[in-house]
């Protein structure tokens, strides 16, 4: 079960990011993870939130270009070598990563959660699950 990430186009000028967080805050949307990809000219914010559909429709209402992107969320132990061990499985299963980012595992302080964007989310998920990796569901993310 993949997780829905929200990708938001951000114009490159002061205050754009703040406008986005303002919209989310006023609608009570709780951010789980954020990552910002930037170029010289524009940025793309990637968000994991408690309610993805609500967040994306709210952002659209406020004139943002926002889309849902399926990503894989995988929990790892928050310890040295935790990510390395997980990436062994990616390598073994030849799953190519486009980008990734991390966030702490919420109440579970000894865990961390990794977000992966891969080309074919479904196929990657099947292969990783087969190799014994536990992929988090949208519900599990919402409850963190």
């Amino acid at each position: 079960m993949s997780v829905q990430q929200i990708s938001v186009f951000l114009e490159n000028k002061p205050g754009t990011l703040k406008k986005m967080t303002g919209v989310l805050a006023s609608h009570g949307i709780d951010l789980r993870a954020t990552s910002l990809a930037e170029t010289k000219d524009f940025g793309i914010a990637r968000l994991i939130v408690d309610d993805a559909l609500e967040a994306v429709s709210t952002l659209k209402e406020h004139d943002f270009v926002a889309s849902l992107t399926p990503v894989l969320a995988i929990e790892i132990p928050d310890e040295a070598g935790g990510l390395d061990k997980l990436l062994d499985k990616f390598t073994d299963e030849s799953v190519n990563i486009e980008y990734m980012y991390a966030f702490p595992g919420g109440k579970n302080t000894d865990r961390a959660c990794m977000i992966f964007r891969v080309a074919d989310t479904k196929a990657a998920e099947a292969r990783l699950t087969g190799a014994g990796v536990k992929v988090l569901t949208q519900e599990e993310i919402s409850n963190i």
Binding site: Q5, S7, E11, T39, F42, D63, F64, V65, S67, R117
Partner: protein
């Protein structure tokens, strides 16, 4: 089925039209000679008298009028009738320098409205139609012209004027408007808003639109037609010559028929002033042979286009003018290269962007810079930075091949470019020359 407002003249053989033009021209030159000292002086300087003008063949002997003459004679130096006979004025938007004031007798208003009625019927309008006029009303000729034309056709006329976009859409739906008249940029905005409100082409009663007063591209036409489920017709005119309706598109949607019984068109070389052979591209020049109060003779429009006498399937015989690339006023000279905003629009729409854009020209270290600012759309967005950059690069490459110079592309947030309700402001030229 093709509808005509005045079929006997709209479909008359060319020889007959030419005969009418010659008769009216001879009369008009005499009228101007007698009543407009400013133009009489111009004729005298050129050594021409009314006796030299016997037919349209002699038109080239007459001196030109240009916007500069209008400014010089502001406000009434070209008025050719006593003020008592004038019933109305209109005025240009005055974005480039001083306003131009144009005068109308009742006869002038009538013939102008006839021209607009021809345009409405060419777009399929009849007395059964509901025409929503969303051009601005007031000094601007757009509202008054189409309003009068719609009355002449006998259509139910909604005198909306521009602005209050949601109310515009409400009226279109509630009153079952079938023909919309406004600027193309406002039509695009209305279409965008209709989509946001969840209305598809089938939910909108409109069948046609008559859009003019600014340059727009074929790609923009396609996009408006698709969004609203209509046929979009171009209409052309200038306040100096009366207003919209000097020329209009028919069902062919391939060039605009010039109302030749009222306006004689010539194409000249903008540099030398020489009349060019038919079919060649050059500056469009008009002589209004029927107007009493403000009779323009050989008025240089600065519009660059070509004329075609090819037979039109609609049955009209009047010459067709190609869509002008834009007024030469709109033409930018960037690093010595001529750039028309309509060319940029074509590239943007071909690349899947919306018709909301702005062109910012500046001069940095003595070099002109061109920045094409366009709004991001859901279709063009991707969570992958590389993908978005690829599209941006493709757009830059396409602009370079169309314009011949390099342009920067800035991607802006949606709705960050102000929507226009009248004529769109596309170009911001920050150069201090």
């Amino acid at each position: 089925m093709e509808h005509y407002y005045q079929p006997e003249i709209e479909c008359a053989p060319y020889e007959e039209i030419r005969k009418i033009q010659s008769e009216k021209l001879v009369k008009q030159v005499k009228h101007v000679w007698d009543n407009v000292p400013y133009y009489r002086k111009k004729m005298e300087e050129k050594g021409v008298t009314p006796d030299d003008i016997k037919s349209v063949d002699d038109l080239h002997k007459l001196p030109f009028l240009s916007k500069a003459d209008l400014r010089e004679t502001y406000p009434d130096g070209l008025l050719a009738v006593p003020k008592d006979d004038v019933v109305r004025i209109h005025s240009t938007s005055g974005t480039t320098g001083k306003r131009v004031v144009a005068y109308y007798t009742q006869h002038d208003i009538d013939l102008w409205e006839d021209c607009c009625a021809r345009a409405i019927m060419a777009a399929g309008g009849t007395n059964e139609d509901v025409v929503q006029v969303s051009y601005g009303y007031g000094l601007f000729t757009g509202g008054a012209g189409l309003h009068g034309g719609s009355h002449k056709v006998g259509s139910l006329t909604i005198p909306m004027s521009s602005g209050n976009t949601d109310r515009q859409i409400m009226f279109i739906k509630d009153l079952n408007a079938t023909i919309l008249c406004c600027t193309p940029s406002y039509a695009a905005y209305l279409g965008e808003r209709m989509q946001e409100m969840g209305y598809g082409p089938d939910d909108i009663p409109l069948k046609a639109g008559i859009f003019g007063a600014e340059a727009w591209s074929e790609e923009m036409r396609q996009s408006i037609q698709k969004t609203m489920g209509i046929k979009a017709f171009d209409i052309y005119g200038l306040t100096e010559l009366s207003g919209p309706g000097v020329a209009f598109e028919c069902s062919e949607q391939h060039g605009m028929h010039i109302n030749e019984d009222h306006f004689i068109a010539e194409i000249i070389d903008p540099e030398t002033g020489e009349v060019l052979p038919e079919g060649e591209q050059g500056e469009l020049v008009f002589t209004a042979v029927d107007k009493e109060a403000f009779p323009m003779i050989r008025y240089r429009t600065k519009d660059i286009c070509r004329l075609s006498r090819e037979k039109c399937s609609c049955g009209r015989t009047h010459v067709r003018m190609a869509k002008p690339m834009g007024r030469s006023d709109d033409m930018l000279i960037i690093r010595g290269v001529n750039v028309f905003p309509s060319e940029i629009e074509t590239v943007l729409l071909n690349n899947g962007y919306a018709a909301n854009y702005q062109i910012v020209v500046d001069r940095v270290n003595n070099t002109d810079t061109l920045d094409v600012q366009v709004e991001m759309t859901p279709e063009m967005f991707n969570d992958n930075v590389g993908e978005v950059e690829e599209r941006q690069k493709k757009l830059m490459a396409d602009l370079k091949s169309m314009l011949g110079i390099k342009a920067k592309v800035s991607l802006l947030a949606p709705k960050s470019i102000a929507r226009s309700e009248g004529k769109a402001v596309r170009v911001i030229d920050k150069r201090k020359i």
